[in-house]
Symmetry: C2
Subunit: 193 residues, 2 copies
C-alpha cells in the first residue's frame, strides 16, 4: 500500500536491534485518516462476507482494528495481555512472547466472545517473528472458530513470522513489507507487492 | 446518552466489589456502531474547534478514542502503561493506580506527541476514582498543553472521581453516569442528565 509505505519512508526511524519506530502515526500517535485508508484496503484484500469478527491484541492493534471494522460491519474483540479482575468465566488462554518487550505474556479471550460460529479476521500493527499472530490463531482455534485471514499493517519481511504463517496455509496480507532496513543510513527497502 | 444506558441495562453485569462488567460491547468485545454514536455525542458535547488532539490510555480507551477522533478530525495519542523498548527520547511520566488491576503503573507519553500547541480532549471508557484521568491531565499539563475536557463512556457516580475533577474546574462529560448498582438484584440506576 503506497500511502503507508510513503509514510513509513518519511517518518519511520530505523533503530538498533531491528526496531522500526513508526510511533508518530501508527502505534503511539495514531493518524486516523490513514487508518481509514488501511481499513478500506483490508476490506479489499479480504472481501469475504463470512468474516463476522475482527480479533486483535492490546494495545497497538486496537485502533487499526476498530477503524477497519467499520468497513466490515463487525465487532472487534481484543485479546488481553494479563488477567484482569473483570475477566471471569471460561476463557481461552495462550502464551505470546513479545519482540518489543522481551517478555512472555499470558493472552486471554473470554469464551463468550469467540465461538464455533465465528469467522475471524486477525488484525495487528506489526508482524515480526509471528508470535503474537500465532497466539491469536491458537485462541481462535481453541474456540473452534475459523481464521479467515491475517491483516497486518507493517511486516518485517526479514524476520520469519510471515514466511512461517504462509507456509502453514494462513492467508497473511501485509499493507507494507519491509525486506531490509539499515540503521546507519536509515534506508528502508519494501517488498514489491 | 440513552442508547448507551439502554445497552448497559441490557448487557451490563453488576459484580461484587463495585465492578460493572460491560465487556460484551465496550471493553473486550467492542460494538463499533455504538462507538460511532458515542463519538458523535462527544463531538456534540465538545464542539470546540480548538481541540486538535485526543489523548487516551491503553488499552480499553483506544477503540472509543479512535472512533470518536473521526468526528473531530484529529489524531489520537495513547499513553502507555509501561516503558516500551520502542519509546525513547524525552517523555512525560506519571503514576496511575488502576481500580481494576489493583496496582500502580508508570504511564508515559513521548514528548514528541504532546506540546504547548495542543488543546487536548481526554477520552476513556470508565471513570471511577479518577486516578487514570488525573494522571492523563498531569501528562497534558507537564507538556504545557491545555485540557479542553474529559469525555467518558461510563462514570461510576457513586465513586469520587467525577466529583473531584469537576470541583477542580475540569469539564467532564460522561455519556452514562451510574449512581447506584446492586450486585444482588443487578439493578442499575442512572443519573438524570
Amino acid at each position: 500500500m503506497k500511502l503507508l509505505e510513503d509514510r513509513i519512508r518519511r517518518e519511520g526511524l530505523v533503530k538498533p536491534g531491528n526496531v522500526l519506530k513508526v510511533d508518530s502515526f501508527l502505534n503511539h500517535q495514531m493518524d486516523i485518516a490513514l487508518f481509514n485508508e488501511m481499513g478500506k484496503e483490508f476490506k479489499r484484500l479480504f472481501p469475504s462476507e463470512k468474516i463476522n469478527k475482527i480479533l486483535t491484541i492490546e494495545a497497538s492493534g486496537i485502533g487499526i482494528a476498530c477503524i477497519a471494522a467499520q468497513y466490515f460491519n463487525v465487532p472487534v474483540v481484543f485479546a488481553k495481555k494479563s488477567q484482569s479482575l473483570n475477566l471471569d468465566g471460561e476463557m481461552y488462554v495462550t502464551k505470546i512472547e513479545s519482540f518489543t518487550h522481551k517478555r512472555v505474556y499470558d493472552v486471554i479471550v473470554s469464551a463468550k466472545y469467540l465461538g464455533q460460529e465465528d469467522h475471524v479476521l486477525i488484525i495487528d500493527d506489526f508482524l515480526a517473528n509471528g508470535c503474537a499472530v500465532a497466539g491469536l490463531i491458537d485462541l481462535v482455534q481453541s474456540a473452534g472458530a475459523v481464521v479467515e485471514g491475517v491483516g497486518i499493517a507493517v511486516e518485517k519481511g526479514f524476520q520469519e513470522g510471515g514466511k512461517l504463517l504462509r507456509s502453514k496455509g494462513v492467508r497473511v496480507e501485509s499493507l507494507a513489507i519491509v525486506d531490509a532496513m539499515d540503521e546507519r543510513t536509515g534506508e528502508i527497502v519494501f517488498r514489491k507487492q
